[in-house]
C-alpha cells in the first residue's frame, strides 16, 4: 500500500507531465504556431478590409484556439497509453479522477496557457479594440481549461483506437460550441463598451461545472478504453 498522500500524488503527476513536456521543447511550440498560423490565414482568406477583420476578429481568435486545443488533445493520454503508465494510474490507490485532473492541468499549462499569452498580439493584428483585449484574455483563461476538460473525455474514449484523431474531433467539437458562443459574444460585447458580466459568469460556471464533472467521466472512459 502506498503511503503517498493524494496531494503529493497530484503534484508529482503534474511535475512529471510538465517535465516530460519540457524535455520535448520543439513540440511545445507547435500548438502556439498553429494558433498563430490559422489566425493569419483568415485575413488572407477574407480580404484586408480592416473593418471586416475587426468584426470577425474575436470569432477568428476563438476558432483558432478551438482548433489548436483540438490538435493538441490527442497527445494528452497517447504516450502514457503506449508505454503502459496509464494502466498503472488505473491501479493506483488514489481516485483516478483526481489523477486525470492533474494530467489535464498539465496539458492545459502546456497548450492552453501559451495561447493566452499570444492572444493580445493576435488581437492587435486583427484590429480588436483595446478595451476588448482584457475580456478576450479573460475568456481564454476561463474557456480554454473547459476545452481541455471536455476534450479529455473524448480523448479517453478514443485513446485505444487506431484512427482516433478524426473521431475525436467529431466527438468534442459539438461539445465546444457553448464555450465558443459565450466567449465570442463576450468579446464582441466588450468591443462596443457594454459590460460582459453575464457571459463571463456563464463561462465561469462552465469551468466550475466541467472541473467537477469531466474528470469523473474521463476516468470512467479510461476504464472502458483500457478494459
Amino acid at each position: 500500500m502506498s503511503t503517498l498522500s493524494l496531494t503529493s500524488a497530484f503534484t508529482l503527476l503534474l511535475k512529471r507531465d510538465l517535465t516530460l513536456a519540457y524535455r520535448r521543447r520543439a513540440e511545445l511550440v507547435n500548438p502556439l504556431l498553429f494558433f498563430v498560423l490559422v489566425t493569419a490565414m483568415f485575413p488572407l482568406g477574407i480580404g484586408n478590409d480592416p473593418i471586416l477583420i475587426q468584426k470577425v476578429g474575436p470569432g477568428v481568435v476563438w476558432v483558432a484556439a478551438l482548433l489548436a486545443a483540438l490538435l493538441s488533445l490527442d497527445a494528452m493520454f497517447r504516450s502514457d497509453y503506449e508505454d503502459g503508465s496509464l494502466e498503472q494510474f488505473m491501479l493506483s490507490a488514489h481516485p483516478v479522477s483526481i489523477l486525470v485532473l492533474a494530467k489535464v492541468l498539465a496539458h492545459w499549462m502546456v497548450t492552453g496557457l501559451p495561447l493566452f499569452i499570444a492572444a493580445p498580439l493576435l488581437a492587435m493584428m486583427l484590429n480588436i479594440p483595446n478595451q476588448a483585449i482584457p475580456t478576450l484574455m479573460l475568456t481564454l483563461v476561463l474557456g480554454t481549461p473547459v476545452l481541455s476538460l471536455i476534450g479529455s473525455v473524448g480523448v479517453a474514449l478514443t485513446v485505444g483506437l487506431r484512427r482516433g484523431g478524426v473521431i475525436l474531433s467529431l466527438l468534442v467539437l459539438p461539445l465546444f460550441v457553448p464555450v465558443l458562443i459565450f466567449a465570442t459574444d463576450a468579446v464582441n460585447t466588450a468591443a462596443v463598451g457594454i459590460p460582459t458580466t453575464a457571459q463571463i459568469s456563464i463561462l465561469g460556471a462552465m469551468l466550475v461545472g466541467s472541473i467537477v464533472l469531466a474528470p469523473a467521466a474521463t476516468a470512467a472512459s479510461l476504464r472502458i478504453s483500457l478494459s
Binding site: 478514443t158 473521431i167 460550441v177
Partner: protein
C-alpha cells in the same frame, strides 16, 4: 418482486426479449400506420391554412413532431446508457445504439423540413438561429455516437463508450430547450405549453399531437427491429440464436 419488476428482469434475457419484441412490433406498426393516416388526413386536409403562413404551415405537422422526437430519443438513449453503465444490462446497451440511428434520422428530418419551411417564410433555407444551430449540433452528437460505436471493434466496450458519450451530450438537451428563451432570434417561440394561454387553435393542435404519437409508435417499432437485429448479430454464437435461425429456415 412485483409484476413489473419481474417483467423487467425477464426482458433482460435476450431470448425472452427476442420473442416478446417479435410479438410487439406488429402492434406498434399497425397503430403507427393508423395514427399516421389519421394525423396526415387531419393535418393536410381538415385543418385550416394559417392566416399568416398559408398552406406551408402544414410542414409543421412533420417538423415539430420530428424535432420533439430528436430530443426525446436522445433522452431515452442517455437513460438507457445510464442503466447499462450502472447495472451492466445487456439489453439496454443494445437500445443505446439502436436508438442513435433512429434519433439521427429524426434530427435530419427536423432540419430538412425546417429549412423547407424557412424558404417561403423567412426567405432563406438556413439561418444561424440558436435553435437551428443546436438541432444541428444534436445531429453531430448523434453522428459522433454512431461513429464511435462503429470504430470500436468489441461491441460491448463500444456500447459502454457511447453510453458515456450520450450522458455527456445530454447536457446539450436543456441548451436546445432553453435556447429559445436565451437568445431571442428568428425562430418561433414554443406554441404548445401545458400552462399559459393557448397560442394554437384546436384544429391545428389535434393533428400535431396525433402525429407526435404516431412518430413515437414508429420509433417503438423501428427500435425494436434494430435491437433484434443487433441482438442476433451479437449473440450469433449462442445456442438460442441457433434455435431461432433453425426455426425460421424450417
Amino acid at each position: 418482486m412485483n409484476v413489473f419488476m419481474r417483467w423487467f428482469h425477464k426482458m433482460g434475457s435476450p431470448k425472452y426479449f427476442y420473442e416478446v419484441s417479435g410479438k410487439m412490433i406488429p402492434w406498434f406498426m399497425w397503430t403507427f400506420i393508423i395514427t399516421l393516416v389519421y394525423g396526415l388526413y387531419q393535418g393536410m386536409i381538415v385543418s385550416p391554412p394559417d392566416y399568416q403562413q398559408g398552406e406551408s404551415v402544414r410542414i409543421m405537422y412533420i417538423h415539430v413532431p420530428a424535432a420533439w422526437m430528436s430530443m426525446f430519443i436522445y433522452v431515452v438513449m442517455a437513460v438507457s446508457g445510464l442503466i447499462s453503465l450502472v447495472w451492466r444490462i445487456k439489453m439496454t446497451e443494445i437500445f443505446v445504439i439502436s436508438s442513435a440511428t433512429v434519433g439521427a434520422s429524426f434530427t435530419f428530418l427536423a432540419l430538412a423540413t425546417g429549412s423547407l419551411w424557412g424558404k417561403p417564410m423567412w426567405g432563406t433555407w438556413w439561418v444561424w438561429d440558436a435553435r437551428l444551430t443546436s438541432e444541428l449540433i444534436l445531429l453531430f452528437l448523434y453522428l459522433g455516437i454512431i461513429a464511435l460505436h462503429s470504430a470500436i471493434e468489441d461491441k460491448r466496450v463500444a456500447a459502454r463508450a457511447i453510453s458515456i458519450l450520450a450522458l455527456v451530450g445530454v447536457v446539450n438537451i436543456p441548451i436546445i430547450h432553453y435556447s429559445v428563451e436565451w437568445w431571442n432570434t428568428l425562430h418561433q417561440t414554443s406554441s404548445v405549453t401545458m400552462t399559459g394561454k393557448k397560442a394554437m387553435s384546436t384544429s391545428m393542435l389535434i393533428p400535431l399531437l396525433v402525429m407526435s404519437v404516431s412518430f413515437k409508435l414508429y420509433y417503438g417499432a423501428v427500435v425494436l427491429m434494430r435491437a433484434r437485429a443487433e441482438l442476433l448479430e451479437r449473440d450469433r454464437n449462442t445456442r438460442w440464436v441457433e434455435e431461432v435461425v433453425q426455426e425460421d429456415t424450417k
